[in-house]
């Protein structure tokens, strides 16, 4: 497990380097090289593990090539994130080394989420992902909204962790095992205690991925946290939560006589997430807040992968993780260069910065799901997984309607950039040629994945 070790070690390394290296630039470059190193080390790992699970550390980790591929995607997205927004992250406050260290610790949690084989590791991975987020959300110490975001996130997160632990305890009581493969709920008539446990765990994980009706923290936290942090927690950490969700529900609770008990509950949660996320996003005036609601609605689509439970849904979540993360990180990177975060702040961007406007359009197309972008194929995979599962046609139709609604608020931004006259304020000095070229490469990647998904899917 090179990825686990390298992310943890680089986290500690960056934390200590903050003590000796005063240059923010140097720490940023160290962090970028750390991600690259983890990326390469994970490729080396990839050849050793096959499609069937390899148990490590007495079953604490169960490593498959799906998990490793997911980690690879995440590390790739983090690399893009560091290249696009690393400078903003370094400049939140005085603790540059610590911010990067926390990001690496979160990555360590995501690695565990993709490979855990035991409820204890699930709990640890969720917590390692959450606690650095509370800190990063409150890292802008001169902004009262950032404090509010941090405290709100912490209190709500601690509460939902309580639900998770209660669920795990009840499941342990019912099955006598923490191991997700030997839990074996299928063999015998299902116990009421196990059912209560499954539902409590489902609620806790739904909270972590901000599915309705557990989404109330999301807009405030995403709006209040520094934009560069929002960009990270709404993408990498969210899809990390989803991989934990999908692995638990497919491996431990996936057999047909168990899933009939929770499928309807999760279907209703999916429907509510889609409706609430999309309808509320229509009414937002701030682009940052719109992206927060958009992340709720995209979570609704990712939930399809959890409830469909077939090969297509595993492929779908991989594609969705890449498509959603890249597009959202790109949108946020451009947002950070704007001085005014409202829709009107984007007026006339196409005249002033044609390349930025074009890239933003590609990212927004991907988020809507226009064909030839990665977002289209990702949506296609998760929805066709649900169709293949059967009995979920009503939900698929609802999702397509919601995707149509989402076109409204995404296109409104494109409208503002291209067709409204205005004098948008951009931080010109921050838009370097390097930034532009990375942004163009990201947009290119979004299109390549949309035309040739085999780039990712050929590996599993």
């Amino acid at each position: 497990m090179n990825a686990l070790i390298s992310t943890a070690v680089f986290g500690i390394f960056l934390m200590i380097s903050g003590l000796f290296i005063k240059s923010k630039q140097a720490i940023r470059i160290l962090a970028i090289s750390g991600v690259v190193a983890a990326f390469v080390l994970n490729i080396i790992d990839f050849r050793q593990y096959g499609a069937s699970a390899t148990e490590l550390f007495h079953g604490m980790l169960s490593v498959t090539n799906f998990g490793l591929l997911f980690i690879e995607i995440i590390l790739g997205c983090v690399l893009v994130y560091f290249l696009l927004s690393g400078k903003d992250l370094a400049n939140i406050g005085h603790y540059t080394g610590e911010y990067f260290a926390l990001i690496f610790f979160i990555l360590c949690g995501v690695v565990l989420a993709a490979t855990y084989g035991n409820m204890l590791m699930l709990f640890l991975s969720i917590e390692i992902m959450s606690i650095p987020q509370y800190i990063l959300a409150g890292s802008d110490k001169h902004n009262l909204k950032s404090h509010e975001a941090s405290l709100k996130y912490f209190l709500m997160g601690a509460f939902s962790t309580g639900f998770l632990l209660m669920g795990i305890a009840l499941l342990y009581g019912a099955t006598g095992s923490f191991d997700i493969t030997t839990m074996n709920l299928a063999g015998r008539p299902i116990d009421a205690m196990a059912l209560a446990g499954i539902i409590l765990i489902a609620f806790a994980l739904a909270f972590k991925v901000s599915a309705a009706p557990f989404h109330f923290w999301t807009p405030d936290v995403y709006d209040g946290a520094p934009t560069v942090v929002t960009s990270f927690i709404s993408t990498i950490v969210k899809v990390g939560g989803f991989v934990a969700f999908i692995r638990l529900f497919h491996i431990a609770f996936g057999s047909p006589d168990v899933d009939k008990h929770w499928l309807l509950v999760l279907s209703i949660i999916t429907a509510a997430t889609l409706i609430i996320g999309n309808v509320t996003a229509v009414f937002q005036q701030s682009v940052k807040r719109m992206l927060a609601y958009s992340s709720i609605s995209q979570a609704g689509f990712m939930l399809f992968a959890v409830i469909a439970m077939n090969v297509l849904s595993w492929q779908g979540i991989l594609l969705y993780a890449a498509a959603y993360s890249l597009a959202t990180i790109g949108c946020f990177a451009i947002l950070m260069k704007m001085k005014d975060y409202t829709y009107d702040g984007y007026n006339g961007l196409a005249q002033k910065q044609p390349l930025l406007a074009l890239m933003n359009t590609i990212f927004l197309f991907s988020l809507v799901g226009i064909p030839a972008t990665a977002g289209f194929l990702a949506k296609y995979f998760v929805l066709s997984a649900a169709v293949e599962k059967g009995g979920l046609l009503w939900l698929v139709i609802l999702a397509v309607c919601c995707a149509a609604i989402s076109a409204f608020y995404y296109f409104r931004l494109i409208w503002a950039m291209y067709f409204k006259a205005g004098d948008c304020q951009v931080e010109e000095h921050a838009i370097t040629p390097a930034f532009k070229s990375v942004l163009a490469l990201t947009a290119l990647l979004v299109i390549i994945l949309g035309v040739w998904p085999g780039l990712i899917l050929a590996w599993i």
Binding site: A8, G11, I12, M15, L56, F57, H58, M60, L61, G93, H94, Y95, E98, Y99, A101, L102, F105, C108, L112, N118, L120, M121, L124, E127, I128, I131, P132, Y134, I135, G138, S139, K141, S150, G173, A174, T175, G176, D191, A192, M193, L195, A196
Partner: protein, 164 residues
């Protein structure tokens, strides 16, 4: 009735009464003191289950460190009964309904639950020696990984708490 059963019932009654007291008490300091009583009764359960290590840790960590912190915070914030914000009745009513529904569902679910599934194995499992062996053999990865969790919490204390 054997002695452990009698002790169990005494502890159970005290722990439930004091737990209710934590919620009901108007004065936050009384709440905390009742919480300490609850923790001590839970420690009693651990001892009845032959888990000495857990019992000692529970006293030191919960009843000792965490409760003292609780008291500090309450005293620093200078809370008292009159300072409690008034919640409007609609919110209270909604809370009661929501909480009551959860209670009904859980009770209905757990009433039918088969609690006899855990077969009692060796009673020495809670002793420190056995616990250490399990911790450093089967559970060595979670043991090490939790250090990352604590490290990030410590970084958080510095990043958030230190003056700029």
């Amino acid at each position: 009735m054997s002695l452990p059963t009698i002790l169990f019932w005494i502890l159970a009654v005290i722990s439930i009464l004091s737990a209710i007291g934590v919620v009901v008490a108007k004065n936050p300091v009384h709440s905390v003191l009742l919480l300490i009583v609850t923790f001590f009764t839970i420690t009693g359960f651990y001892i009845l289950l032959n888990a000495q290590f857990l019992a000692v840790v529970h006293i030191i960590v919960y009843a000792g460190a965490i409760m003292v912190l609780f008291l500090f915070v309450i005293m620093l914030m200078n809370l008292n009964a009159s300072g409690e914000p008034q919640k409007n009745n609609l919110v209270k009513f909604a809370g009661v309904v929501a909480g009551g529904l959860l209670l009904i569902v859980l009770v209905a679910a757990l009433k039918k639950a088969d609690t006899g599934m855990l077969i009692q194995g060796s009673t020495n499992i809670g002793l420190i020696q056995n616990l250490g062996k399990v911790l450093f053999k089967d559970f060595v990865l979670p043991f090490e990984v939790s250090s990352i969790l604590f490290l990030s919490a410590m970084i958080g204390a510095i990043v958030i708490g230190k003056k700029d």
